[in-house]
Symmetry: C2
DNA sequence: ATTAGCACTCCTCTTAGTTGAGTGCTAACA
DNA sequence: TGTTAGCACTCAACTAAGAGGAGTGCTAAT
């Protein structure tokens, strides 16, 4: 167990390092007003903290730098909630000033504001389209053998996909099919459409139209690989400001990661609420060893969730980011549930 | 006017520099098999070429490096067309192997292959949606005061926008209006919809429904700010490989530029066909002073165009890129006009 | 007109020395 | 016994000087 003095010193060191990005020495610490003991004492304590694994040295005669374990302890035990500057709060509120109707717009703006306020990179996940429910299904023929299927969801999201039409489908048949589809699919979540098509709709189609098999098959392939939730970025190049990312290779790795949808999705905790922090090597993605990721979720309507991630160096201003995410999460949730 | 020997030397220097990124000296040139004269002679010629502005030195006793004027001369007069490796051609053809129905998919894949083959960054512009023509217009109400307007175009593209519904619009009124809209708008290019709405449709609406004004107004604002042509990127971080971009700030500028739609659009020549090359400071965009941009266009259907840009260092392999773009442009044009 | 030879330039790399921030340890002190 | 002053030691960062080498420009010979 750490003594109070050790806790205090650890806190001061991490707070200082987060600001300066420089190894912090005993003399520097002793100058802080809240520190009443001498550099020598501090050196002894630091040696102990290092032995316990909370601090590291970059070389034998350098100041101390927090280790991952140090950061972990810091965020778990030393992170007193921070009040946020009212100017910042105002800026967040400004997202909702101009009555943006579309969810996308709000999220896009949120991403930018978050990256501005943190000076890190933000990634926001929009609502999980797979869980939207069908509001209307329509089919618009384009040529003799192709048509576009359009699904409007309860949230006003529109999915569309071109698919190939079996030969010799008449207009009246098509109309009939669209009617059946609407009867059967309204209220069904997108992720279940293809099951529903095969389980129920196929049988009905077979009674009414020719080439039902092919038709359903076409529709199933068209609706199967439906889009995942959309990804919005803010401040993609903000990490260039951080001294720890002055290395081109690191930056490249992270930028490449952000171009890959599956990798981006892997940054988020599956469905858990609250704020999650992953520090350094706790991130398993290639090239994220020097990053910390703070994630949280927000609600959209009744049963849908979006997610927020902030990516920064391990030397991230955890306190500030956590506070900002807390506000953002609440504001977004409020904005999106009030409405629908 | 340059002598033949000067032309030959200029060509060799640029070809060599494009490959090596190192200033090239007289001895190095004299070793090439096609060069029959001595280093001293070459030095004299180089001094002349420098005086004429085609070459530069990085310092008094360094080898020569092409100047922008040198590159310009090179691409204008020394760029013999290059046959492309059959393996590369094959890879380009592979885009069209698997019958991708959707234009977007083809373009996305093209962007990736282009950046792979060139090892530069590629940007592709999809068709100019504004010039698509309305195939079907429909409106799906979401709540009492909002609805989503959906426009399917002749190419199977789907535009949709949420707009606010005037109070007290009945379902039958809505149906009536959609019918009128379809009668009047089918075949109209998206860019002209709002004009048409105000000029023709408004008058008709006024005869049939209440609150026609508001309704049209809502629709106009919804269709006014329609999406520009979609942008597809390939190899965004490829520039990290180029030694001239080992400077974080340069890279950052370019990456930031690529995040800004208007900036990206400014990279493209307005509508001119053929292949265009802008070298170094011929690019007016901030941070593009060390880049060259090669652009061209391809056709989609009868009257629509997409565009391709390759961004690399001024020390770009112009010959190869031009040859690749030529092929790509033709293949895309062919693929997209055959179909529709 | 071409080229060999040579002095000169200037980048790059290495080595050595200096400085300064910071540590660990010992001994003195309250 | 916990705290602190003092001091020797370490090591990164900076500076200066020198060696090596690639390349040039000029002159004179071919």
């Amino acid at each position: 167990m750490l003594t109070n003095r050790q806790l205090q010193i650890l806190q001061v060191i991490i707070d200082d390092f987060i600001l300066s990005a420089q190894p912090v020495g005993s003399r520097q610490i002793s100058k802080k007003t809240e520190i009443t003991f001498s550099p020598a004492t501090i050196r002894n304590e630091m040696a102990d903290l290092e032995e316990l694994g909370f601090l590291e040295k970059t070389h034998t005669s350098s100041g101390r730098v927090p280790s991952e374990k140090g950061y972990r302890f810091y965020v778990d035990h030393l992170l007193s909630p921070q009040g946020i500057n009212s100017r910042d709060v105002q800026q967040i509120q400004s997202i909702f000033n101009d009555r943006l109707v579309e969810v996308e717009q709000v999220i896009r703006k949120s991403a930018n504001i978050l990256s501005d306020l943190t000076s890190y990179t933000s990634i926001l996940l929009g609502p999980d389209v797979q869980r939207h429910r069908v509001k209307r299904f329509s089919i618009v023929p384009l040529s003799t053998d192709t048509a576009v299927a359009i699904i409007v969801t309860n949230n006003g999201h529109v999915e569309n996909r071109i698919f190939s039409l079996p030969p010799n489908v008449t207009a009246s048949e098509l109309e009939k099919m669209v009617n059946i589809l609407n009867e059967r699919l309204i209220g069904v979540p997108l992720e279940e459409i293809h099951k529903k098509l095969e389980a129920e709709v196929l049988a009905i189609f077979q009674q009414h139209v020719q080439s039902a098999d092919e038709f359903i098959h076409s529709l199933v392939t068209a609706t199967m690989h439906n889009s995942e939730s959309k990804i919005f970025y803010g401040g993609k190049t903000n990490m260039f400001n951080q001294p720890e990312f002055h290395d081109l290779n690191k930056v490249r790795m992270i930028l490449d990661l952000m171009e890959t949808k599956s990798q981006v999705h892997s940054l988020f905790q599956p469905n858990e609420s609250g704020i999650h922090i992953r520090i350094g090597s706790e991130n398993k993605q290639l090239g994220m060893g020097d990053c910390s990721v703070i994630t949280t979720t927000y609600s959209i309507g009744e049963d849908q969730q979006g997610a927020i991630a902030i990516i920064g160096p391990t030397r991230m201003d955890y306190r500030r980011v956590v506070a900002l995410l807390e506000i953002m999460r609440m504001d977004l949730t409020q904005a999106f549930t009030k409405k629908s």
